[in-house]
Symmetry: C2
Subunit: 199 residues, 2 copies
């Protein structure tokens, strides 16, 4: 826009690239920040600077960390012997929010894709295999997304793990808690029916 | 969330305070930034830092600027003699997007409110009066929001401007371009009918 300071336009443009924000909401967010320059904008800029400088991938599991080993891999409270394989750090966070899994993770960073030339190396699958052998892992839980790509990758990993002696499991499929049958897709209902259990 | 680096949690918390973002979308935005640390997060942090350090209010009109006088007040291309009064910088930006007004602005920064103890001084109304006198303003366009607060403030300013010799005008009210009568409120339809013009 003409006559808006160039620095502010640049900021709006970068913010608009965040998911969930477009040019319009980025503009609104920047105005909000401009009105609270001292109380909000400066601390936000600083917090972002610090994270941009310190964040890195955990060398063991691929989780986001501020040192070479993430808090989960470093924690003596986490169960050894169990690895949960997830596609993405977002999935790891979702698992952690559920607060049920107490083992460690392996973050693939994507799914296998011939089209995008994403192979096992890119997802750290060889590294997962060495971890399973070296850490004496008894169970590998495949918590990949219930998409075609996720399940293809899960099958590949399950095959690769054959012979390591580790049990390979996957998340149960069925009706979500609070879910209404009327709003569920056919695939979920079929899966829930096939895996029905005694009441 | 346990086991997420403290710096990242701090960043999510601050981002979640932006309008249009909540804790969930702030988390998603931060993950997006973390995946593009070099290409997106570092430039964003820097752009924000620069704006936080350089942004200030234009001493003349109250617009956001990077020097004591904003680009609009400093521009020789803008018509002198006309001031458009807006509540907020967001409104100024909206006017500029429309690209029709070529004069200068006066940003109030709010509306009069006895409840919140916002008086004429807080909105820079005395400063507006001196500008009208000193700059030889011929027309003051009141582009305040069509809310009770906006219109109360508009009436106050119109009264205060009486005696300066400047014409006081306000934006036309009516059916928005592309608007469908069926979806318009009664007040807008009444206003549009009262201000009807020959076709």
């Amino acid at each position: 826009m003409a006559d808006t300071p160039r620095e502010i336009e640049a900021l709006i443009e970068i913010l608009a690239r965040l998911p969930g924000l477009g040019p319009r909401s980025a503009r609104r967010a920047v105005l909000h920040l401009l009105r609270r320059r001292g109380a909000l904008m400066a601390p936000l800029a600083q917090a972002m600077q610090i994270v941009a400088e310190t964040a890195r991938d955990c060398l063991t599991c691929g989780n986001i960390a501020t040192s070479d080993t993430c808090a989960i891999c470093a924690s003596p409270q986490r169960a050894t012997g169990e690895i949960c394989v997830v596609e993405d750090v977002a999935d790891l966070w979702a698992m952690e929010r559920a607060g049920v899994f107490r083992g460690r993770y392996h973050v693939l960073g994507g799914t296998l894709s011939a089209l995008d030339a994403v192979g096992p190396e890119d997802l750290g699958i060889p590294r997962l295999l060495s971890r399973v052998r070296d850490e004496g892992i008894k169970e590998v839980i495949l918590a990949l997304n219930a998409t075609v790509e996720g399940q293809t990758t899960a099958h590949y990993i399950a095959d690769a793990l054959r012979g390591t002696g580790a049990a390979v499991t996957t998340l149960a499929q069925g009706v979500p808690i609070g879910g209404e049958l009327d709003y569920l897709d056919d695939g979920t209902i079929s899966a829930a029916l096939r895996s029905r259990r005694s009441f």
